[in-house]
C-alpha cells in the first residue's frame, strides 16, 4: 500500500471513529450503527491481516475501557473480525453496494455473536433472542450506515490492487 492509500485509509477511519463518538450519542437509537466496526471492516480490506488484527485489538480495547464488565471481549472480537476480513478481502473487490452492505451486516453480526459469547452475561433463550433479534437489527442498521458512508466517502476510497 502506497503512502496516498495509507493517508486515505487513516482519514476514512478517523472520520468513522469521529462519527461513532458524535453522531451515535446524538441519535441515541436503541439499535444504533456501529461506526467502529465499519471503520475496522473498511480498513481491514486495505491493510495486511496482521495490521488489521492490531487495529481491531486497539479499537476493541479502547471501547472496552468504557465497559468494564466486558473488558477484553470487544478486543478479542474485533481482532478476530479484522484478521478474518483482511484474509477474505477478495470478496470486497466486487464493487457492488448491496454486496458491501451484506458483508458489513455479516461483520457486525459476527462481532455481536462473538461479544455475546465471550461476555457470558446472557444465556439460553435470552442469548438466542439477543443474537437473532437485537444483534441482527443492529447489524442491519450498521450495514445501512456503512453503505451510506461508502457512497459518501467514495472519492476518498481506493481499493488496494490485488
Amino acid at each position: 500500500m502506497n503512502w496516498g492509500a495509507t493517508v486515505r485509509t487513516i482519514i476514512l477511519c478517523s472520520v468513522l471513529i469521529f462519527l461513532h463518538y458524535t453522531l451515535r450519542p446524538l441519535l441515541n437509537w436503541k439499535a444504533s450503527a456501529d461506526f467502529l466496526i465499519i471503520a475496522l471492516l473498511l480498513a481491514s480490506v486495505r491493510v495486511r491481516p496482521g495490521v488489521a488484527a492490531l487495529f481491531g485489538f486497539v479499537l476493541g480495547i479502547a471501547s472496552d475501557s468504557l465497559a468494564l464488565g466486558a473488558f477484553g471481549a470487544g478486543a478479542l472480537a474485533m481482532t478476530i473480525i479484522g484478521f478474518s476480513w483482511s484474509r477474505l478481502k477478495a470478496v470486497f473487490f466486487a464493487d457492488h453496494v448491496l454486496l458491501n452492505g451484506f458483508f458489513l451486516f455479516l461483520g457486525k453480526w459476527a462481532y455481536e455473536i462473538l461479544m455475546n459469547l465471550v461476555d457470558r452475561r446472557l444465556s439460553g433463550a435470552e442469548l438466542v433472542m439477543q443474537i437473532l433479534v437485537y444483534s441482527s437489527l443492529s447489524a442491519a442498521v450498521t450495514a445501512v450506515a456503512g453503505v451510506l458512508a461508502l457512497m459518501l466517502l467514495r472519492p476518498v476510497l481506493e481499493t488496494r490492487a490485488a
Binding site: 491481516p49 488484527a53 468494564l68 478479542l76
Partner: protein
Amino acid sequence: MARATRFSSRIDVVIFGACVLLSLVATVLPAKLREPAASILRRSLVAPLLRLQQGAERWRAAYQSSEREELRRDTLALAAARVPTLETENERLRKVLGLASGMKWGFIPAEALSGRGRAEDFTVTLSAGSNAGVRERSLVVAPEGVVGLVQTVDPTMSLAILFAHPDFRVSAMSADGSAFGIVQPHVTSSSTTQEQAFMRSERYLLEMRGVPFRAALKAGAVVYSSGLGGIYPKGIPVGVVLGEIKTPESWARTYILRPAVNPAELSAVMILTPARAAAGLASVWADVGAVDSATRSIVIAGDSMARRSAALEAAARRAAIDSAARILRDSMGRDTARAEAAAPAPAIDPAVAAARARARRDSAVARARRDSIRRVQADTVSQPIPGTPPTPPPLTRR
C-alpha cells in the same frame, strides 16, 4: 519472493496470535488489575474520544431541553387561553349556585346542550329526563331568567323550546306592576336575502304586545313574568326593554325586548317541578343577586386578606432595612464628627443617600398600590350585575 511472502504471512499470524492472547488475558484479569488498565486507557487513548462524546451528549441534552421548554411554553399559552373561558364558566356556576340557594327545593339541575342543526335553532336538549323527575311543560330557567318550556321527556334527557320558538308565549309585567302584556318571539317576514340576513340577527329578540297606552316603558326597564296564565310563576326576569315599535295594533303599545338569557351562553339550567312553580318564585330572583354578590365579596375578602398579609410582611422588611440604614448612618456620623470636627457640613455617603431614597420610593409605591387595591375592591363590590334587579349591599366591604 515466496520466502518474503511466507515471512510476512507468518508475522501477520504472530501479531494476530499476540492480539488474541492479550485480549484473552484482558478478559480474565482480576478486577483490581483490570480497573487500573482501563483507567490508563481512558486517560490517554480514549480521552479525546470521550470529550467528543461528552460534547455530543451535551448537544443532545440541549436540544431535548429546548424541546421541553417549547412544550412548556405551549402548555402555558394553552392554559392562558383557557383562563377567560374558565372565568366565565366560574361566574356562571356561581350564579347557578345563587339561584339554587334561593329556590331551596323543587328544581332539577341540568346541562343545556345546544344543537347545531338548522332545525334546532329554537330548541335545546337538557341532560335530565323523567328518571330525574322532569315532566312535560316543566319550566326551564337560568340565573338570568326564563329559558323555555320542556316539550318532550325521555328517561335520561328532555327537549325544551327556547323563548325564541314561535310557539312561546308568556304573560309579563313591568317591575312596578304598572304595565302588563304578552311576550312572544319577534317574528318578522322578509322578502329579500339581505333582509333575511338582517332578520336572522334579530331572531332571538322578543316582543311585548298589548301594553296599554297609559303605561309607557322606558328603555332598560326589566320585564318579569306576571304569573297570569298558570304556566310561568310570577317574578322571573323575561327581558329588558330596548324600545317601542310601531305595529298595526293601534289600541296598544308593542315593545322590543332583549331576552334576559343569551342562548349562546346557555350551559347550566334549572328545571322547575310543577309543585315548585305552583308555590311561586317571587323573591327568588331578588335574592339571586344578593347571594352572588355575597359570594363575590367572600372571594374578594380572601384576596384582600392575602394582599394585606403580604403588605404587612413588606412593611416589616422595610422597617428592618430602615433601622439598619439608620444605625449605619448614626455610626458613620459619629465617626465623621470625631475625625473631622472642623468640616463645614458632614458629607452624606452616596450609598446611604441612595438607600434612603430607595426606601422613600418604595414606601410611596406601596402606599399608591394599597390605595389602588382599595379603590378596585370598592368598585368591584358596588358594581351592579347587568340584567338583575338592584342588589343589597354585600356582606363585607373593604
